[in-house]
C-alpha cells in the first residue's frame, strides 16, 4: 500500500506517494533533484547525507518517508539564498573543501551547531562534527572554518576586528536562529 505523505522541503510543500520505507535521501536526490546530500555509506555512519529534520541534523539515508507527514526538512540547498552564508564563505576562505563529498553534510551539522551555540568551543565543534567523515582534509581546515563563521568569542581578545570592518549580518532564514556576526579575520600567530 502506497504511503501518501506531504512534507515541507526547503520551504516548499512536497508530496510523496510510494513505498513507505523509501529513504528520504532517495526522494531528495531522485524525485526533487536536490543532490547536495550525498550517499556515502548508506548506514548512518558517514554523515554525507546529513539534513535537518525539524531543525535537527539527521542522516537522510535512515529516515523512511512514512514518518515525514507534516514534517519540515531543510537541505544544504536551503541554506544559501543569493549569496553564501557566513559558514559557507568560511569554508571557502579556509580551504575546508577538497573533493567536496562531505561538505554538504558538514555544513548542515556545523550550521545546526552554530544556531544552538553561536560561540562553540573547539571541543564542541569536534563533537558535533564527529558524525561527518572527511577523507581529504584532515579536519583542521573544517574546524577553522566553523570557528571563523562563529561569533567572535568575547573572552578571546587576541582576535581584534580590523579597523573599519563591519559585522556582516546573515540573511534571515525561515527557521534559523538570530542573525550572527561573522567572526573577524584572525590575527596571525
Amino acid at each position: 500500500m502506497d504511503a501518501d505523505i506531504t512534507l515541507t522541503v526547503n520551504g516548499a510543500t512536497v508530496r510523496f506517494v510510494g513505498d513507505p520505507l523509501t529513504r528520504l535521501l532517495d526522494v531528495l536526490r531522485g524525485q526533487l533533484g536536490l543532490t547536495g546530500a550525498k550517499e556515502g555509506c548508506g548506514e548512518g555512519e558517514c554523515g554525507a547525507c546529513t539534513v535537518w529534520l525539524d531543525d535537527e541534523p539527521v542522516c537522510a539515508c535512515l529516515v523512511p518517508m512514512l514518518q515525514l507527514e507534516g514534517r519540515v526538512v531543510r537541505t544544504v540547498e536551503g541554506l544559501a539564498s543569493a549569496r553564501l552564508t557566513a559558514l559557507q564563505q568560511a569554508f571557502v576562505s579556509e580551504g575546508a573543501v577538497q573533493c567536496g563529498a562531505c561538505t554538504p553534510g558538514m555544513l548542515m551539522s556545523a550550521e545546526a551547531l552554530l544556531v544552538r551555540e553561536p560561540r562553540p568551543t573547539e571541543a564542541a565543534i569536534r563533537t558535533h562534527l564527529a558524525g561527518n567523515v572527511c577523507r581529504c582534509t584532515g579536519y583542521q581546515a573544517i574546524v577553522r572554518a566553523v570557528q571563523r563563521a562563529a561569533v567572535k568569542p568575547t573572552r578571546a581578545p587576541a582576535a581584534r576586528p580590523r579597523v573599519g570592518a563591519k559585522p556582516t549580518v546573515k540573511a534571515p532564514r525561515a527557521n534559523s536562529a538570530p542573525a550572527k556576526k561573522r567572526r573577524p579575520r584572525r590575527s596571525p600567530r
Binding site: 520505507l21 548512518g44 523512511p64 512514512l66 558524525g131
Partner: protein
C-alpha cells in the same frame, strides 16, 4: 511492499502489533531497521511508534525515574531529570553513534534491537531497570536482569511493545560511571562497554553494581567482581582482584571489530582503572 501504520494511540499500535496476519514490527528512530534493509528483507509491515505520547517524556514516579521508550538519546543526554537521577544513562546516551544518530535513535529501540553491543543495555543492568511492556493482553513489567535470553533474544513476546523504562532514582551518595572503548569516539560499534555504580559506607564500598557490554552474547552483570567489591576498602590490590574477576566473568569473541583477547583484557583494565581513578 511494506505496509505502514502510524497509529495515534498506544491501543491502536498494540492492535496492529497483535494481528498475526500483519506481522508488523515497531519502528521508532529507524537507525537499526533502515540499516537492516541492506541485508534483510523488508518487514511485511511497520508501526511507527515514535510519536506515541505514551512512549514519550521523562518523569519522576516516586522513587522511580520513568523514561519513555521513544525518548531519543539526544533527549536523554540533556534531560535534567536523567542527568540528576540516572547520570550514567545520560553519559551513555551522549556517546551513542554521533549527533545525527542521537537525534533519531531511541532507548526502546536500543533495547529492542538487543545487540550485545547496545550501549545503553549494561547501564540498564547496572541500574536495575524495569521495562514496562504492553500488548493487547495487557501490560507487565520485566526486569532488565531477566530480559536477555541469548544472542539478540529477549524475553518478550513478538507482539509486546516496550513502552517505558523504569529506573530507580540515584541515591544521593551513589556514584555512576560509564566507560566505552571503540575504534574511535563516535560512530564505532563498541568493543567494550562498562557501567559501574557504587556508594561508600565510611571507607568501604557498598551497593556495587557492575555490568559490561560487547563481551558476551548478551550484556552481562559481573557478579563476582561486584561481590569482591562489596564491603571492601578500595586499594590497588582490590582493583587487581576485581579486574581478574571481571575478565573471568565475560565470554567475548573474535570478530571484525576486535578480538576476544583484547576485549577480555580491556574489560579488566577498565574496571581496574575505575577503582583506581574514580573510587580511590
Amino acid at each position: 511492499m511494506t505496509r505502514a501504520f502510524s497509529p495515534r494511540t498506544l491501543a491502536d499500535a498494540l492492535r496492529v502489533l497483535g494481528d498475526p496476519d500483519l506481522a508488523a514490527v515497531p519502528l521508532a528512530g529507524g537507525t537499526d531497521l533502515m540499516v537492516g534493509l541492506h541485508t534483510r528483507a523488508a518487514p511485511a509491515a511497520v508501526v511507527d511508534v515514535s510519536r506515541l505520547s505514551e512512549l514519550r517524556g521523562v518523569r519522576l514516579d516516586g522513587a522511580v525515574l520513568d523514561v519513555g521508550a521513544a525518548v531519543t538519546f539526544a533527549e536523554l543526554g540533556r534531560d535534567p531529570l536523567v542527568l540528576r537521577h540516572a547520570p550514567m544513562l545520560a553519559q551513555a546516551a551522549r556517546q551513542v553513534g554521533a549527533w545525527q544518530i542521537q537525534n533519531r535513535a531511541t532507548l526502546g529501540g536500543n533495547i529492542g534491537t538487543a545487540s550485545p553491543a547496545g550501549d545503553s543495555l549494561p547501564v540498564l543492568l547496572a541500574l536495575g531497570a524495569e521495562l514496562e511492556c504492553a500488548s493487547t493482553r495487557g501490560s507487565r513489567r520485566v526486569a532488565s536482569a531477566s530480559l536477555h535470553r541469548g544472542y539478540r533474544q529477549l524475553a518478550l513476546e513478538r507482539d509486546e511493545l516496550i513502552v517505558r523504562v523504569r529506573l530507580p532514582r540515584r541515591r544521593r551518595d551513589a556514584v555512576q560511571v560509564f566507560r566505552k572503548v571503540g575504534t574511535r569516539a563516535a560512530q564505532a560499534v563498541s568493543k567494550v562497554v562498562v557501567a559501574f555504580t557504587f556508594a561508600r559506607d565510611a571507607a568501604r564500598l557498598r551497593d556495587v553494581r557492575l555490568a559490561a557490554g560487547s563481551v558476551a552474547p548478551t550484556p552481562v552483570r559481573l557478579v563476582d567482581a561486584e561481590q569482591a567489591c562489596e564491603g571492601a576498602r578500595p586499594s590497588a590490590a582490590l582493583a587487581a582482584e576485581v579486574a581478574a574477576l571481571a575478565r573471568a566473568g565475560v565470554s567475548p569473541i573474535d570478530d571484525v571489530r576486535s578480538t576476544a583477547a583484547y576485549r577480555r583484557w580491556v574489560v579488566g583494565r577498565l574496571v581496574e582503572r575505575l577503582i583506581l581513578d574514580v573510587v580511590i
